[in-house]
């Protein structure tokens, strides 16, 4: 029997069990903590560029078409509307992250995965997508198309 300073009497068995238990717990922690941290992928520096100049001439982009381009590490879509206007949006569907495409038969943007439809302002007009596509600013400077993220 050991007289505990707090006044309670703790027998040796209980003390040893507690000691073994915490040691085992600490041991398991030292094994599984590094493993759990190892499994989480490290953050990769994302490209911070807010503008991209496309390798396309404005004159080469036909009316009523769309095409995917790289905006940093993410896909984006450049659309020339039937009226001739150039527009750009993030090409990642807001539903389950498939990559959208332009449908020239419907004159708007469409996602093949779950049949989501977006109009030419990126608004989700039909199907499961819950939010509009992020719209980018398109500037034509002479022979160049420059796409930039809004403010």
């Amino acid at each position: 029997m050991v007289q505990w300073s707090m006044g309670g009497i703790v027998d040796r068995r209980r003390f040893l069990n507690w000691f073994l238990g915490t040691t085992a717990g600490a041991f398991l922690f030292t094994v599984f903590y590094p493993i759990s941290r190892y499994l989480v992928p490290p953050k990769v520096q994302e490209s911070t560029s807010r503008t991209v100049t496309l390798a396309l001439k404005p004159a080469d982009v036909k009316f009523n078409t769309g095409q995917i381009f790289r905006f940093g590490s993410q896909p984006a879509i450049l659309v020339r509307t039937p009226a001739g206007e150039l527009k750009a949006f993030a090409a990642v569907c807001t539903h389950l992250a498939c990559i959208v495409q332009y449908r020239n038969d419907l004159n708007h943007i469409w996602c093949a995965c779950h049949n989501g439809h977006f109009d030419l302002n990126g608004l989700n007009i039909s199907g499961p997508p819950p939010r509009p596509l992020e719209q980018y600013v398109v500037n034509v400077r002479g022979d160049q198309i420059v796409v930039s993220k809004g403010a």
């Binding site: 989480v40 992928p41 990769v44 995917i68 495409q101 093949a112 049949n115 989700n124 819950p130």
Partner: protein
């Protein structure tokens, strides 16, 4: 004379081994095992059939490992090489792909027959839970294996499939990063899925399968309640060799079907994945995920102010949990009474899966 000598030699080897390994006891156990014979006996073959197909998966999987290269740059090309240059490469890969599908199919039939025959009731609750674990493992095997060829369909199926846990409140984005090995589906996802598919899942399956088979041996085959209630004399057949030989007929039939499927409809490879191309028209997951995929297509973007996909994901999660807990929820069966309600729930689940899967393959993907 030769025979006698041979016999004696075999007997000597037998006795030598028996003394060291305990063969007689193993054989006693095998001899003791019998299988109940009644109108539902046919369903007893499905577990063994699933096991047989799993053995085929392990064998062909090991063979595929010898040529496969798990990186975004080489995966597609290594399978192209396997399919076109390696002798019988197409056969090994096609059998792996077809046996996976057949295995999931027989697993589902096994699962639903156990549900409908109420074989989950006491004392087989842990057998049921280990079986649910194996079902989860099989589906994860299918999901991770689908990405490995790194083709267009697989790429987008994985984007969608890993986005779904992202819909879980609070921990969603963390889960998605953990699964993908980064923020997007990239080569990092491929190596991660490869590791899961060829190492982590086989290890877990060995544990769960070991427990499952041990419990099946311990409790024997479950006799359905309605057969048990009939006070007729109970018929049985010995497991060895009667039941095992019937098993063997089933396995040989499965092997013949597999060979025919692999030869006439070999596994396709499609186009290499390109993260900067739109999702292809008609994209679809493996057939056993189709009912979930189609449900997500039908859900509107918002239901009662909550995003449709979140509700769908929560719904499937709760559905899975409900199925896992059935032995504990079905009190009537536990008391030995008939439980019509649970029979109808299971039939409703089967009907839902069949109808949604049918729609997934017939509703035009473009309107």
């Amino acid at each position: 004379m030769m025979f006698r000598n041979g016999d004696r030699k075999i007997e000597e080897i037998w006795l030598w081994l028996d003394e060291r390994v305990g063969l007689t006891e193993i054989f006693k156990l095998v001899k003791k095992k019998d299988v109940p014979v009644h109108t539902h006996t046919v369903w007893y073959y499905l577990g063994g059939m699933t096991l047989f197909l799993f053995v085929i998966q392990v064998t062909t999987g090991i063979l595929l490992l010898l040529y496969y290269r798990p990186s975004a740059e080489e995966a597609y090309e290594s399978i192209q090489f396997l399919m076109t240059e390696v002798e019988f490469g197409w056969l090994i890969r096609s059998i792996h792909s077809w046996a996976a599908n057949l295995m999931v199919f027989t697993l589902f039939v096994h699962f639903f027959s156990v549900l409908l025959l109420k074989a989950y009731r006491r004392p087989r609750e842990v057998t049921w839970l280990s079986g649910m674990g194996l079902l989860g493992l099989a589906l994860t095997f299918g999901f991770t294996g689908y990405l490995l060829p790194w083709n267009e369909l697989a790429y987008f199926a994985t984007r969608v499939g890993t986005e779904i846990p992202g819909a879980v409140p609070l921990v969603g984005s963390f889960l998605r990063r953990l699964l993908r090995g980064g923020d997007d589906v990239t080569g990092a996802t491929l190596t991660r899925f490869y590791g899961i598919h060829v190492a982590i899942l086989p290890a877990l399956t060995t544990l769960f399968l070991g427990l499952h088979l041990f419990l099946v041996q311990k409790h024997g085959m479950s006799v359905p309640p309605d057969v048990e209630r009939q006070s007729k004399e109970k018929k049985v057949m010995p497991f060895f060799p009667n039941f095992l030989l019937r098993d063997l007929v089933g396995w040989l039939t499965a092997l013949a079907i597999l060979a025919a499927l692999a030869a006439f409809i070999p596994a396709e490879l499609g186009k290499k994945a390109d993260p900067f191309q739109p999702a292809p028209v008609g994209i679809k997951p493996e057939w056993y995920f189709m009912f979930m995929f189609q449900t997500l297509k039908f859900l509107p973007s918002y239901i009662l102010g909550i995003e449709g996909e979140i509700l769908g994901v929560l719904g499937f999660g709760l559905g899975g949990l409900f199925l896992a807990l059935i032995p504990f929820l079905d009190r009537r069966t536990a008391r030995g009474e008939t439980s019509r309600l649970f029979t109808w729930i299971v039939i409703a689940i089967i009907a839902y899966m069949v109808v949604l899967t049918y729609l997934g393959y017939t509703v035009s993907p473009t309107n």
